[in-house]
Symmetry: C2
């Protein structure tokens, strides 16, 4: 049996490794147009920040390690076309410019995603970077070391993480977000708190501009020097980061007749099978099922990619596995602030036809007399009709994310607020108040729900 | 309506405050033989360590604050006898030595627990302390400041926390635990790891002696000077802490005909009602229901006390509330080590007739390239027959406890290992590896269960 995998960053690399463990005999070959396989893209902001110096720390597994296990790795080999009828893939070897047709018994598509380049004038100028591959990280870090100021376009996860990276490197940072709020995937009042908390510790190290778009980059063949905003404001900069989102790489799949979902990512079932027999897909190129309300969602994250790659491999090898979907859990850090969420936001709930009820509390994260006590703000969201918990958001110093993980188990088991109030969370003064903020919020939400029903 | 509350540390204080919120008219009066009300007993180790200087930081609410809300606080008033037939309590005013009979419409017993004094010779010598009340903390702290060495009897939660306190104060600490393991409420191999990790960072600051009991204290009217172990070894010390467990204060309830449970704590139903009409009980003096297997358990913790006090007050005020029980979740810190658990241990499962299956993993707590990466050891325990998760233990630096809280939600909803594997935990490099240790452990446990069933 020959298993061909297109793409080798997270899902593809995981699928290859898992397939090897399940089948000693299968021929396993990974084609990637990248110059690296099996690396942590999510680690680039910390590499750029200087948390560690050697980019090879980002490599989970080297090509040599794969080869030792009998997994063939073909770097700089771009898949041009899938021919399902003859079970072949057309591969372009970018090293010697040859093209060959490769047979497969099972094909796993793990083509990932690519940065979205917004329609701004002169995005092709030198020193305007996107952040996706190891090469991007190396180039950005080199540029950061010799620069004084940087402008980041986009205030989502990557933008906020890079804000931290560049502040750590003592660059003056300007971040421009065109929507009225940074972290616009959160509910607006939570995004507003993030903005307030960050600007309160800014100390002239960075500036966050919201509600304005970048309309033009200026510069010459030596690189970008200035950024023009929609207000007309011009900002000098040494380089620019475009952190304006990503799009799934689905063209090769679509051209082969593979069905896409409503999110424009590849549609797969729980076994990671596409609509074409013996073709699986996994990672950032596929659409997920949001288990809260069984609706399609596209949540491109390394954790999901790993689980999906594993699941695809198990099924491709003839065994049985299912990946039920995601809760849209996520976490990011910006300086000392942890920002985390799971499930539906309040606005997301409304958009999907759920009438939400919510509560937001700001409480100490441990008992008030402990020396390192901090505030944590927690928002809990429930379905007004059923009382079911459907989402949560947390911001604060330290382990705000782990409180969200306590919620993920509750969301997964479709727990109601009433049921969650009976939760027995660990307590000791260095770790939480006697009544954890989570239980405190749940208790208030429970009272609100009771009042509604009485 | 007159609500009389006996005891005012955690459950009693909470009950009083909640009753006031629910009823503006009720007469609410708290009798306590203590000199303080409404304080955080759990904070004593951090007060002793010097994390904060003023013991009043431990007070949640002062007597004056209660009085302002029309809650009467009677300090140093000991309840001697409950007379259910006439709905009266006999109270001894320790200030003026008067005794009076007090009427009640609703009585809430929150008498708490007291330290257990083991049968060791000469425990009455000066400078042998137990740790329960604010006065204990004040005396111990004063003694610690002028001392060089201390011996702690008992390696449970309080013993381990005080080990940290005294190490922080640069005392030479000897801890003696008579069972073969410290933290004997955990499974032995986890306790062993705690021992190894602590002794590896000990640097002569402390010594932990296991499997030996203290048989005698020596000294004179100036205080204890030496401790004799079962081996004959004699250890010089400036003072001694007895951290050998606690017992529920149930005598006054028992004498009044109130039923005790199998754990010897007061038996209550989910509404915190005792077997006698209009008498409620809550806090460290009551028995809880362990929801994992609906069995009686006695888990005296501040978090439980608060929830129970609240529940008792709601029901005493004529409304309806239920406290379903506990998961036996707990956390403690000893120096840099977080020790946390929930549910049944493997041995506890066996003792309660469940055939357990478990897995223990030691993994990084975040992605390996992050500068502050640490190990976390996680043990997951499931019921072999049903595949249900029934317990977990975690040790490690930092937020090991929060991973246990992710489990509590799963235990509460009676999730199987198979279901838990579909959990979508937050991921970013500063917070967890791509696959969190929890999911990693669950995945291994799932494979083990699959093999058993195939």
């Amino acid at each position: 049996m020959k298993i061909v995998i297109i793409g080798g960053v997270a899902a593809g690399a995981k699928a290859a490794a898992k397939a090897r463990r399940l089948s000693q005999d299968a021929e396993i070959i990974v084609y990637t147009d990248d110059t690296h396989v099996s690396y942590s893209s999510c680690g680039l902001p910390y590499y750029i920040a200087g948390n560690f110096e050697d980019y090879r720390m980002l490599l989970v597994r080297s090509p040599e390690e794969f080869e030792e296990q009998g997994i063939k790795i073909r770097l700089r080999h771009k898949a041009l076309k899938i021919v399902p009828d003859t079970k072949q893939v057309l591969i372009h070897n970018m090293n010697d410019n040859n093209v060959e047709l490769v047979n497969y018994d099972k094909l796993i598509i793990a083509t990932g995603a690519r940065p979205f380049i917004p329609p701004i004038k002169n995005t092709e100028l030198p020193n305007i970077f996107t952040v996706r591959k190891i090469e991007d990280g190396i180039r950005i870090k080199a540029k950061a070391i010799t620069s004084k100021k940087v402008l980041i376009v986009g205030g989502g996860y990557i933008g906020m993480e890079l804000l931290e990276s560049f502040v750590m490197r003592n660059l003056k940072v300007t971040l421009v977000e065109n929507s009225p709020h940074i972290m616009p995937m959160l509910d607006p009042e939570i995004s507003e708190m993030i903005y307030e908390q960050l600007t309160s510790v800014c100390e002239n190290r960075f500036e966050i501009i919201r509600g304005e778009s970048v309309v033009e980059f200026c510069g010459d063949e030596n690189g970008v020097t200035c950024v023009v905003l929609s207000s007309g404001q011009m900002i000098d900069t040494d380089f620019v980061i475009l952190a304006t989102g990503i799009r799934p790489n689905v063209e090769i799949a679509y051209d082969a007749g593979i069905e896409l979902g409503i999110t424009k990512a590849i549609k797969v079932n729980k076994r990671m099978e596409t609509n074409i027999k013996d073709i699986y897909a996994c990672g950032d190129c596929v659409e997920e099922n949001l288990v809260i309300n069984d609706s399609p969602a596209w949540i491109p994250l390394g954790s999901n990619a790993n689980k999906e790659g594993r699941c695809a491999a198990i099924n491709a090898c003839g065994e049985f596995d299912e990946f039920n979907g995601v809760l849209a859990s996520a976490v990011t850090r910006c300086l000392d602030l942890t920002i985390s969420m799971t499930g539906l936001t309040e606005s997301g709930a409304r958009n999907s036809g759920i009438d939400p009820i919510s509560v937001t509390v700001t409480k100490f994260d441990k008992v008030g007399y402990m020396p390192d006590v901090n505030n944590i703000t927690l928002k809990l969201i429930a379905d007004k009709k059923t009382g079911r918990l459907i989402g949560g958001q947390a911001i604060g110093a330290g382990d705000a994310d782990k409180r969200i993980n306590t919620l993920t188990s509750a969301l997964l088991s479709k727990m109601t607020v009433e049921e969650f109030c009976q939760n027995d969370l660990t307590y000791a003064p260095p770790y939480s108040p006697t009544i954890d903020p989570l239980l405190n919020a749940a208790e208030i939400l429970r009272s609100k729900l009771k009042k509604l029903n009485s």
